[in-house]
């Protein structure tokens, strides 16, 4: 009896593996569900819809963008973590979901490394260090000097505890040795008006939402919190160039799947996304929004997750930043 059941299990496994193999070859033969763990309209959503549309044109299979917002992206992420690893349920994951949330939230519903298969990166969104124009700082050094001289300090805004805006500013403060007062908002939409009106003086903001205001002169950009300068603002130095080292905070947006996806499927999606990201019209559209196309192999992407995860979890633990869900 035992042997029979063991045999059955083996048979099932064999069947499962073979199905997985054929799936990789025929993939995709039905609609793909692309879960965006945010409300519609944001940069993750726009990018997902853009890439989804191109995948549909190529594969002739519908790519359905499904918004599952809630709990800083963790609801949608958990959903995909629990889905079948067949390549038909994928998650559009920004860096914070994979590299920040598991450390930030005391009771993370998933484990970045045990629950997801890295598939492809899509774009990187540099973060700009910006100030209200009435702040008499035209460089990072001047900003540091002002922050140090003011007894009550400057005020910086963020779109919530643990958001890229918050953590980048915390990282900057730590590296520059200054203190600023944190004001949290519900989402990014309200931070920019308050920066323009001078309610808050400093904002570390993803470039896509702040660029028009930098160009119109309503806010002043001091530096890019990334490894290299951005093409849309070539004269703007990086924070490192400006004298404060190791303030690296590029946000990336990627596609991941549930753990255990067949390598064939992963590679197929990866190469297709890479092709799309190399086409001129997509590059143009992304650059205009301030998103830089970002292409990695699945293995390099996995390394990127690891290094960002380690970097942010170190900072979060050191500063004792916590949030609950």
């Amino acid at each position: 009896m035992k042997k029979v059941s063991l045999g059955l299990i083996l048979l099932c496994l064999l069947f499962f593996v073979s199905v997985n193999l054929t799936l990789a070859q025929n993939y995709p033969d039905k609609a793909i569900q692309l879960v965006v763990p945010w409300t519609p309209g944001g940069s993750n959503d726009v990018l997902a819809r853009l890439i989804g549309q191109k995948l549909l044109e190529k594969w002739k299979q519908p790519v359905v963008v499904e918004n599952r917002p809630g709990a800083a992206g963790n609801i949608g992420a958990t959903l995909v973590a629990k889905a079948a690893p067949d390549g038909y349920t994928l998650l559009v994951a920004a860096q914070n979901i994979l590299a920040i949330n598991p450390t930030l939230y005391s009771n993370s519903p998933f484990d970045t490394f045990k629950d997801f298969t890295p598939i492809a990166t899509m774009g990187a969104v540099p973060v700009l260090l910006t100030v209200n124009p009435s702040v008499p700082a035209h460089s990072v050094k001047e900003l540091v000097a002002i922050a140090k001289s003011k007894s009550e300090g400057l005020t910086y805004g963020s779109s919530g505890i643990g958001s890229p805006q918050h953590l980048t500013a915390e990282l900057f403060m730590k590296m520059a040795g200054v203190k600023m007062v944190h004001v949290a908002y519900k989402g990014a939409a309200q931070t920019i008006p308050d920066l323009i009106s001078g309610q808050i003086q400093v904002l570390c903001c993803p470039i896509n939402s702040i660029l028009p205001h930098v160009k119109s002169g309503k806010v002043r950009a001091l530096a890019v919190a990334g490894v290299k300068r951005v093409p849309s603002l070539p004269d703007l130095p990086t924070v490192t160039e400006a004298g404060v080292k190791n303030v690296l905070s590029d946000i990336w947006i990627s596609i991941v799947g549930p753990k255990g996806m067949a390598p064939g499927t992963v590679n197929k999606i990866n190469s297709e996304v890479a092709k799309i990201l190399a086409s001129d019209d997509v590059v143009k559209n992304l650059r205009m929004q301030g998103i830089e196309p970002l292409i990695h192999t699945p293995a390099d992407f996995a390394k990127l997750i690891r290094s960002d995860y380690d970097r942010w979890s170190k900072l979060i633990k050191e500063l004792g930043i916590r949030a609950e869900q």
Partner: protein
């Protein structure tokens, strides 16, 4: 003059067969989702966005905008006819609109709603065209202290809403404030009243509670009455009413509509408040300045004209921050920004100069769309009324279904549907206890905004409460709040004193 050239340019873009037909299509779809309770413009636009990839940007935006303001028109229809707000912004319309319908004046209520909306739409489209940049600066300078003071004013105003017992109204406001507390605290990241349920960490959705307390509850209460009495607008109650407004109605309605438009236009600019606040403030104003406030809640036509104008005006002016600054003041506007970027246009202050045909074409189409809507809606009123005279057992399950679809579409999750059914139980208890759900709902919106902005203002001012008085707009709002409080309290005190003297 510059602005005339621009408006001409706008009309030359909007009046092409293609753009006109998409404008019409958008307004029609909008009216439909507006009429269907629960299903709102956000879900509809998100679903229809892929269909617009093939269109050029202006046409796509014209259609999506049509859906948005079309929904504002449609939402009032169900509010008047069956006491179920099709859109959250038309909750206020149920107060007097449905009472009018019960008195056999449904047609008048819908007529005044449509005409008021059209008037508001026309005025605020003109505002968008002429004064978008300066108005957007107003929105920017409305910051945490101003929000806080506005919320204080609104909270005091809530008591005015009470029809019956003031004590019960206050209890409902407090219950609403409590419900508003649920979720992650913005400043500290600590969870409140979530009981470990992750879905609750973003708070309880406003639409969830609104659907349960207004929409579905109406059905449950309807089930209580004997079958023959369940027809919504029975002939006995005097039918549907006339297709015209009497002189007296008109005399009462037009000033209310003008005031509603002004209020809505200003409140629509502010992020986060949206149409609910606009219609609600307008209702308070109308009730406060009416010669006989006791008519309100019993079918006062001003109670329909004001709020309806306010929510439509707000819907139009909420385009201003989006178009001039690329800042979303409502979830729908966030989607519009998404649509713009998908079509390769960077939203922001430069849209006006780099894409003038898009900017002015959209504005011109908004006025045309409003015109379509009023022309469409007048004959449609007859159709809707026919629809409502369908039997209860056919109509109400359909409404229930749409409520479920609408609630599900909020975040594509069954959690919200389950939550809605729990709130239905609460809602039924409230009806049995004679407590009105509106103050609860508004307390739920106002509470978190008030708390958040109070803490934000205090953090920014480093703990100095003087900031609320130093900023002029905030000061004016606080003075209004104090005046309103006095107006509410003084008569009560005087009455007490008179009573005391008698003894």
């Amino acid at each position: 003059m510059d602005i005339f050239d621009n408006i001409l340019l706008g009309f030359s873009v909007a009046i092409t067969l293609k753009n006109l037909s998409y404008c019409l299509l958008g307004s029609l779809v909008g009216t439909l989702v507006g009429v269907l309770p629960g299903l709102g413009p956000v879900a509809t636009i998100a679903m229809l966005m892929p269909l617009t990839y093939g269109l050029d940007t202006t046409t796509a935006l014209i259609m999506l905008a049509g859906i948005y303001y079309g929904a504002q028109y449609g939402g009032s229809t169900t509010a008047v006819l069956v006491n179920i707000p099709g859109e959250t912004s038309s909750i206020i319309t149920t107060f007097d609109g449905h009472q009018m319908a019960l008195q056999g004046r449904a047609a008048e209520a819908l007529l005044v709603a449509a005409l008021g909306s059209f008037f508001a739409g026309t005025v605020s489209t003109f505002l968008v065209a002429g004064f978008a940049p300066p108005l957007s600066m107003l929105a920017i300078n409305f910051s945490a202290p101003e929000y806080f003071s506005l919320m204080v004013l609104c909270l005091i105003g809530l008591v005015v809403l009470a029809h019956g017992s003031v004590l019960k109204a206050i209890a409902m406001v407090l219950a609403g404030l409590l419900l508003g507390l649920v979720g992650q605290d913005v400043t500290s990241g600590v969870n409140r009243l979530t009981f470990g349920i992750r879905e609750l960490s973003d708070g309880i959705g406003f639409v969830v509670v609104a659907m349960a307390l207004f929409g579905i509850n109406e059905i449950i209460v309807g089930l209580e009455s004997p079958e023959e009495r369940r027809e919504v607008l029975s002939k006995k109650r005097g039918g549907l009413g006339k297709w015209s407004l009497s002189k007296e109605d008109f005399r009462l309605a037009w000033p209310a509509s003008v005031r509603g438009t002004a209020l809505g236009a200003v409140l629509g600019l502010l992020p986060g408040s949206g149409g609910v606040l606009a219609s609600f403030v307008s209702y308070i104003v109308e009730k406060k300045i009416a010669k006989d406030p006791s008519r309100f809640g019993k079918g006062a036509i001003e109670g329909v004209a004001g709020p309806e104008s306010a929510n439509n005006a707000g819907a139009q002016t909420s385009f201003i921050p989006m178009l001039t600054l690329g800042l979303p003041s409502t979830p729908t506007m966030a989607l519009m920004i998404g649509a713009l970027t998908l079509h390769g246009i960077q939203p922001g202050p430069q849209v006006m100069t780099t894409n003038p045909t898009l900017f002015w074409g959209l504005i011109a189409s908004m006025w045309i769309g409003n015109l379509f809507l009023v022309i469409l809606n007048l004959p449609l009123i007859g159709v809707w009324i026919k629809l409502v005279s369908v039997r209860f057992r056919l109509l109400y399950p359909a409404i229930l279904l749409f409520c479920c679809i609408g609630v599900y579409s909020l975040s594509n999750s069954t959690f919200e549907v389950i939550l809605t059914s729990l709130f239905c139980v609460l809602g039924y208890c409230l009806v049995k206890l004679d407590c009105e759900p509106a103050p609860l709902l508004l307390g739920m919106i106002l509470g978190p905004m008030m708390e958040e902005n109070l803490r934000r203002a205090m953090t920014i001012s480093r703990g100095d409460p003087g900031v609320f008085i130093r900023r002029p707009v905030s000061l004016v709002l606080l003075i209004f709040a104090a005046a309103l409080l006095l107006m509410l309290v003084v008569p009560a005190i005087r009455k007490k004193r008179v009573e005391a003297f008698k003894e």
